[in-house]
Amino acid sequence: MSHPVTTNPLIIMLINMTVVFLVLTALGLVINLIHMIDPTRPKETKREEVLPAEPAAVEPAPVAEAAADEKGISPEVVAVIAAAIASYGYGVEQIRAIRPIQREGWKNSGRMRLSNRRS
């Protein structure tokens, strides 16, 4: 067994913590580099396109009224959504509106899952 470089515990702590931080920082840079050169990375702009436009300001309204404003949302669906939100600790009065939005993510995910199952 060779001799230790130092036996001063504070110096050991300082050097070791510095090395740990440097190595993990280097690893972080490597991760960022991999992300940057990733040829399969989805374009950021595409993501923005998928996102819905800024929702218009909606006056606070009772849940039932909000549902009544939107065509195609039954009171049962409103009740289910309100209950799900309430289970996360939010009050029903905090729900301003329930609106269907055009987002293809779930639909596409379901389609992909079905097609993967077939293959």
Partner: protein, 376 residues
């Protein structure tokens, strides 16, 4: 008469060769310790897959005259696997195959939390040296704070093999007690406002990133710290099995059959180092105390660094995920989730905490490698 004499002489010979004639009080105490550990593993379910074989190995190690370590056989082969650092890297192969580095790849800044939590290792090292342990022993004791069993065993074997039993038992015991040790420290060091911080959803990580990371990380870390190349190399190889998508059979073997087999050998062999002669010394109590200090300091270091990152990021990082930097995968991440949910129902921190959690595994291995390079 002659028959009676022969019978008595034979009985005397059997008694003289039996374990009872060489049985000492210390062996009795250690068998009791083994039974208590078995109780904790089976009844209390504290890390039963590890504590169970460790406890039984402890009982086996305290039967006199078994010649387990002197004569060729299974027990000697198991000891060979531990003494020559064969089993810890194989366990890391399985851990790599089970680990999802996705949360870390999605938010690499959490690597710093895994680094900050390593302060526990060095606080315990300082404490151990103040208590009179030499620098190699102190390094091996300190690594308990990394909350990573295989790394603790790997380092102990190389720096202080006579303390292996106490260090392994302390490391695995405290790992199982993470849900009891961490929450009070996390609550003490954070405000309600900090605990309520909601983090943004992680970005999706591509397969390219998942496949490249283990390869590049193995190259970078092995070149920087060759003493831990076998540990980190196996971790990354196991992860490559998982992420490549074309080595499913190897991934399955690494994370199930192989990992289970090696766990049996490693844990039983570790328990077999707990013989009365090496374990029943005052240093064991000191090691157990220092292990607790290491865990507390590591948790505090991660949370305090999390508070800094919370401010720097503009309240986008919840400091509670810092405590997950002490490895103990995935228990420490679950604790972050649990404390976060108590502060704000619906605030899911689990995936965010997995980043520092797996960073802690790498951080502990890096700390071990640095100590091996500096102190061995």
């Amino acid at each position: 008469m002659e028959l009676l004499n022969a019978f008595v002489v034979s009985l005397q010979a059997v008694w003289a060769d039996s374990g009872f004639s060489a049985f000492e009080a210390g062996n009795g105490i250690m068998i009791l310790v083994g039974l208590v550990l078995l109780y904790m593993a089976i009844v209390k379910e504290f890390e039963p897959l590890l504590l169970g074989p460790i406890a039984f190995g402890c009982i086996l190690a305290n039967f006199p005259r078994t010649g387990f370590l002197e004569e060729p056989g299974l027990m000697q082969a198991i000891h060979y696997g531990i003494a020559n650092e064969i089993f810890p890297p194989l366990i890391f192969l399985g851990i790599g195959a089970m680990t999802d580095f996705g949360p870390l790849l999605a938010r690499p800044v959490t690597l710093l939390l895994g680094a900050a939590a390593q302060i526990g290792v060095f606080v315990a090292l300082v404490g151990a040296m103040l208590l009179g342990f030499n620098v190699q022993e102190a390094g091996a004791i300190g690594i308990i704070g990394g909350a990573d069993g295989p790394t603790a065993i790997y380092l102990s074997i190389q720096m202080a093999p006579h303390l292996l039993g106490a260090i392994a038992v302390a490391a695995y015991s405290y790992m199982s007690l993470v849900p009891l040790i961490q929450p009070p420290i996390m609550k003490l060091l954070t405000t309600q406002k900090e605990r309520e911080v909601t983090m943004e959803q992680l970005r999706p990580v591509t397969k390219f990133e998942r496949v490249c990371f283990p390869i590049v990380a193995a190259i970078v870390i092995s070149l920087l710290l060759p003493p831990i190349a076998s540990l980190l190399g196996c971790l990354m190889l196991g992860n490559l099995f998982r992420e490549s998508g074309v080595m499913d059979r190897l991934s399955d073997t690494a994370q199930n059959s192989l990992c289970n087999i090696v766990t049996i050998f490693l844990a039983t062999g570790t328990g077999m180092t707990m013989n009365a002669h090496d374990f029943l010394v005052p240093q064991t109590l000191m090691i157990i105390g220092l292990g607790l200090v290491a865990f507390i300091a590591g948790t505090a270091g991660g949370v305090l660094f999390g508070k800094i990152m919370c401010r720097v990021s503009g309240w986008k990082i919840n400091p509670l995920i810092g405590s997950a930097g002490v490895s103990a995968v995935p228990m420490a991440a679950r604790v972050s989730q649990m404390v976060g949910m108590k502060a704000k129902p619906g605030n899911y921190l689990l995936m965010h905490a997995m980043g520092p959690n797996v960073a802690g595994v790498i951080g502990t291995a890096v700390a071990a490698g640095t100590m091996l390079a500096m102190l061995k």
